[in-house]
């Protein structure tokens, strides 16, 4: 069954609203949850769902992403048949061009898809945090004899206008797709997970490619076109945890969610494990002065001081008298003596000098990169967001 399904994983997004975090890094490669990267959740979903033919579409700053995915070993996707293939923009006899939209990225790589002669194409995003069994969605898709199935989740009504909203009949067939509507009719939002019958979607993609007025986007162009043609589209309701880490705030929130009892299966589940590309580092050392509450600590760390409600990545060192609260410390950062951090995101390899005090205000986490760190120190070491 699974070899008849090809997954295309969109991982080329720039993630502009993640600011410093995606300055030199594609959004899916942004570190997450102590030892993971954002894309690990989708890669693990594929591994756990037994979908083993994956095209990974990269474009923006792909160096770390390519290195991280490699030949897909951590997810069991280093295979003789299928496996993961990294698909970057390329030049050909016809010329060369960047991927200009989600649909464009797929159509430009149709030769990749076609070599497997799949029944279904699954289109996924590499920047969402969730655990989902795609085989169940495939079953739903087949049972309905659908042309396309879109997974959807209920979002709070007041946030619905940020999403693509699916308006459905009682049997979850879709009669309307509202992309970021001003006045949403309901709160069933698209999660950006699509299943298409390849034979159905292919002509739409080819036609869209020729349309110069199109944004070449599934949500904006392809789906509305299919609805116009009375194709059978269904919404597949998902009711687990799902988070789009589009902004610094939501990135911070999604990390903090990992510390909540209700969401701990995101990392801890034995039935649906999340696989990182694990490094070979020694167990963390917890020092004499350490006081840790509700926090995740990763290998290679040396911990002193107080760590409260925070996520520490691999190779982090915190010194005596440090106080780290509601913060995210990315790999190999050093938090000096008597440093106070409250609601901060410290980027990889940043060394925060002794005594620095960085406390976020107005609810917006502070991102500390080598560049912004200078500003905080210049301003006397006390600062808000």
């Amino acid at each position: 069954m699974t070899s008849k399904t090809v997954a295309m994983l969109l991982a080329g997004g720039q993630g502009t609203r993640l600011g410093e975090l995606t300055k030199t890094l594609a959004k899916p490669a942004v570190p997450f949850g102590g030892k993971y990267r954002i894309i690990d959740f989708t890669m693990s979903n594929l591994a756990n769902s037994g979908i083993s033919t994956v095209g990974l579409l990269v474009q923006y700053s792909p160096l770390m992403l390519n290195k991280h995915i490699g030949i897909g070993k951590p997810w069991g996707l280093d295979r003789q048949y299928g496996g993961v293939s990294v698909l970057s923009p390329y030049s050909s006899r016809e010329g060369s061009a960047w991927f200009s939209g989600t649909a464009d990225a797929i159509v430009k790589n149709r030769h990749f898809v076609e070599q497997y002669e799949p029944d279904e194409l699954i289109v996924l995003s590499g920047d969402h945090i969730y655990q989902m069994d795609y085989t169940k969605m495939l079953e739903f898709h087949r049972e309905n004899g659908a042309d396309a199935t879109i997974s959807a989740i209920e979002v709070p009504m007041d946030e619905a206008s940020r999403f693509g909203i699916l308006n459905t009949n009682d049997d979850f067939s879709i009669y309307e797709f509202d992309e970021k509507p001003e006045h949403p009719k309901n709160n069933l939002a698209s999660m950006g997970v699509y299943i298409f019958n390849w034979s159905t979607i292919k002509p739409y993609l080819l036609e869209d490619e020729k349309d110069e007025g199109s944004d070449h986007d599934f949500g904006k162009d392809i789906i509305p076109k299919m609805l116009e043609d009375d194709r059978k589209l269904f919404a597949y309701r998902f009711d687990g945890y799902w988070k789009d880490v589009g902004t610094i705030k939501s990135y911070w929130e999604a990390n903090m969610d990992l510390l909540k009892e209700d969401f701990q299966t995101l990392l801890m589940s034995k039935e649906w494990p999340t696989y990182p590309n694990e490094e070979n580092r020694p167990p963390e050392y917890i020092g004499e002065t350490a006081e840790i509450n509700n926090s995740l600590i990763s290998p290679g760390s040396f911990i002193e001081g107080s760590i409260d409600n925070s996520i520490l990545f691999v190779g982090v060192e915190t010194m005596e008298g440090a106080s780290v609260k509601d913060s995210i410390i990315l790999p190999d950062a050093v938090i000096g003596r008597n440093v106070t951090l409250d609601c901060a995101i410290v980027m990889s390899d940043v060394e925060i000098p002794d005594g620095t005090r960085i406390v976020a205000s107005n609810d917006e986490p502070v991102v500390i990169s080598p560049d912004t760190l200078k500003d905080y120190i210049a301003e006397g070491g006390s600062q808000n967001g």
């Binding site: 694990e278 020694p282 167990p283 963390e284 050392y285 917890i286 004499e288 002065t289 600590i297």
Partner: protein, 366 residues
């Protein structure tokens, strides 16, 4: 290293000297400091010295060893030519008269035959350090030694069963247990492949049991020997007590950092677990903890392996806990070693002494 050196880890002469800890596993696969197993240090040191082919003579109880060593890349042995061969007993020669560990040398002769280089470095797993043997090999080759014994010279020799070297100049003339002798022998030696071959032949022809004792120790005067002082932090294992003390000694922060997180990292099998979760009201001090572990209680001065659960109000003090143990709420452990998959039920107290830590065998429920 030009022509390359073959690595050999010989577990055959090592007894199951760690009591309960070696009931179900070979000495080399005894877990140490959370994620590691004792054999990791020998392998890492060889890999860091440019050795790319390592044979492991595994006498018995090697199931965990086979699993542990099944991905050479995890140990930094990268590239098509690099190999770890775990060599279990394979007595294939019907005319074979070899005995003891000579059986391994005889029946796994291909390991030596196929290797192109002309030197072999041989180690056990009762000694650990984070050392690069490159310099030792250079010394061995430059001085054209038959056998170079790797050890260390210490000012205050410890009172222990560690074997010592008697030296004259840089020649090794004997082995001793003289407690005042400060030339501690690590069990590591570098030997010319040709010399090794002759020793193996001699031992088999004369019905000898031990390559080292009969072929080397008793015939030292026949070889041009050398002593190389590795000048590194070292630990020796010869009893459960020494195992316990070595673990406790490495809970010193600087020592731990130097040993595991210096320029060269000790490598081990990579496995996947979520980061360690420290819950509210938990307390951890002066300890090392491995991933997949959840702490709700108190951990002090202890070594915690992967996937351990320390329940609310439970205390783990001066103890070593292997993987997958469950310490239920309110339990109290002090000077205890829990082997893998042990459950300590609610409120139970186990207290050993520093000299004689209380060891709980694998899969027990107390």
């Amino acid at each position: 290293m030009d022509k390359g050196v073959l690595g050999l880890i010989n577990l055959q002469p090592e007894q199951d000297y760690l009591d309960e800890l070696t009931y179900f596993r070979s000495s080399g696969s005894v877990p140490f400091m959370g994620r590691y197993r004792l054999i990791d240090f020998a392998i890492t040191n060889m890999a860091n010295s440019g050795v790319s082919v390592i044979g492991v003579f595994a006498g018995h109880k090697f199931r965990s060893l086979l699993d542990h060593l099944n991905r050479k890349e995890d140990f930094g042995l990268e590239g098509r030519q690099a190999k770890i061969f775990v060599l279990p007993p394979d007595w294939n020669d019907p005319s074979d008269i070899s005995e003891g560990d000579l059986k391994h040398f005889h029946n796994h002769d291909d390991l030596f035959r196929r290797f192109k280089g002309d030197q072999v470095i041989i180690s056990g797993t009762q000694f650990i350090s984070n050392t690069d043997y490159t310099e030792a090999v250079r010394y061995h080759k430059e001085n054209d030694k038959d056998i170079t014994f790797v050890g260390e010279e210490v000012e205050n020799p410890p009172n222990s069963p560690i074997l010592r070297l008697v030296t004259e100049g840089d020649q090794v003339t004997g082995f001793t247990h003289d407690q005042d002798n400060g030339h501690l022998y690590s069990g590591v030696y570098i030997i010319k492949k040709e010399v090794l071959k002759n020793i193996v032949r001699f031992c088999i022809d004369n019905y000898k049991h031990s390559l080292f004792h009969n072929g080397i120790r008793e015939k030292l005067e026949e070889y041009d020997t050398g002593f190389y002082d590795i000048k590194a932090k070292t630990h020796y294992f010869y009893s459960v007590q020494s195992y316990f003390q070595n673990s406790m000694a490495l809970l010193d922060k600087d020592r731990y950092r130097e040993f595991f997180y210096g320029q060269k990292k000790v490598k081990t099998k990579v496995s996947t677990n979520p980061p360690t979760l420290y819950k509210n009201d938990s307390s951890a001090k002066r300890s090392i903890l491995s991933n997949g572990t959840t702490v709700e209680g108190t951990v002090e001065n202890s070594v915690i392996s992967r996937n351990v659960f320390v329940g609310k109000g439970a205390t783990v003090k001066n103890s070593i806990v292997f993987a997958n143990c469950v310490i239920e709420p309110g339990a109290h452990l002090e000077n205890v070693i829990l082997d893998k998959d042990v459950t300590i039920t609610e409120g139970r107290q186990l207290i050993g002494s520093e000299e004689k830590p209380y060891t709980v065998p694998k899969r027990s429920r107390i």
